[in-house]
């Protein structure tokens, strides 16, 4: 990663143009050639620095429901729990964290009933009792800005 990569990463995270040839516009902004830009972008995608280029959809505006949920499992059950949670395509993110509640995951689904159903199924497959599962839907949003300033 050099300075140009950093510049490209910062530029690509903001206002990716919705037009026929978006890279031409970005290249002009960065004052480099379109070929040089696109070559760098491909490398950054290939080496995993860019996970993807895409649209962050506001799921609520498409009538989808979402939540953050967590379960508390014993260390010997962690792997099985991770697999059980992961297998639902409605689970979009899942992380292991160092606390009593140790697996945290987000669910995006068409209805709240479906979210409940997924949580029930996870509980029953892992034989969890009620106080080992928390469903924590958002009450208020203060900030959502998953852009990272690269230096």
């Amino acid at each position: 990663m050099d300075q140009l990569d950093s510049k490209i990463l910062n530029a690509l995270q903001n206002d990716f143009p919705i037009q026929q040839k978006p890279y031409e516009t970005i290249a002009k902004r960065l004052q480099i050639s379109t070929d040089q830009l696109f070559d760098r972008v491909q490398k950054l995608v290939d080496n995993g620095t860019i996970r993807r280029i895409g649209a962050s959809i506001n799921s609520h505006k498409f009538d989808f429901k979402s939540t953050l949920a967590t379960i508390s499992v014993t260390p010997d059950k962690l792997q099985k729990a991770a697999r059980t949670v992961e297998k639902f395509h409605e689970v979009t993110h899942s992380y292991q964290r160092n606390d009593k509640f140790n697996i945290w995951f987000t669910i995006i689904a068409p209805t709240e009933e479906r979210i409940e159903q997924i949580l029930k199924q996870i509980s029953s497959e892992l034989s969890l009792n009620q106080n080992q599962v928390l469903n924590l839907p958002m009450k208020r949003l203060f900030k959502l800005n998953a852009k990272f300033k690269v230096s």
């Binding site: 962050s56 992380y95 964290r97 203060f142």
Partner: protein, 167 residues
């Protein structure tokens, strides 16, 4: 699958083709339009409309923060009373290192009401930022839940036929 009837057939097609990410191509919109059976202009119009009305938050690169020197992340949860939460939430959201800040429901076994995602270069760095945040908002009841492992991270699926086709 039942996706709400409120969206048009064209919008459905656009959502289906973009939900997993855009092609890495010099002409991503043209490529998506072709695979969705739409005109490029049509697809571009839908996307611009969605950007205007907030259905799309942003279009751009999703960067893997582990790869750009921000490998240490933590979810930090705070006990904040209802009367203070707006003020504290706004204050903590103002930190550059905080990417997400939400209020969530509390319970007897988990009394934390404010959730912040904090990113830094190292665990110590994150600890220092959190200490600063705590000092700034005057809340000392918090917990740092370090990210030990990323188990899954995929874009949401809105249109399910896509999955079936790809399986």
């Amino acid at each position: 699958m039942v996706m709400s009837d409120k969206i048009s057939d064209i919008e459905r097609k656009v959502l289906a083709v973009i939900q997993g990410g855009m092609p890495v191509s010099m002409t991503p919109y043209k490529d998506m339009a072709e695979s969705a059976g739409l005109d490029t202009a049509e697809l571009i119009e839908v996307l611009r409309g969605w950007q205007e009305n907030g259905k799309i938050r942003r279009i751009g690169a999703i960067v893997n923060h582990f790869k750009v020197g921000l490998g240490a992340g933590a979810m930090v949860v705070w006990i904040v009373g209802e009367d203070k939460i707006e003020e504290v939430g706004q204050l903590l959201a103002g930190f550059d290192e905080v990417t997400h800040a939400y209020e969530r429901p509390t319970s007897d076994e988990w009394p934390y009401s404010l959730y912040t995602m904090v990113h830094g270069e190292s665990e110590e760095g994150v600890g220092q930022i959190v200490a600063k945040m705590s000092q700034a908002c005057g809340v000392s009841d918090y917990r740092i839940l370090k990210t030990e492992k990323e188990l899954k991270k995929v874009p949401p699926t809105y249109i399910c036929e896509e999955i079936e086709e790809h399986e």
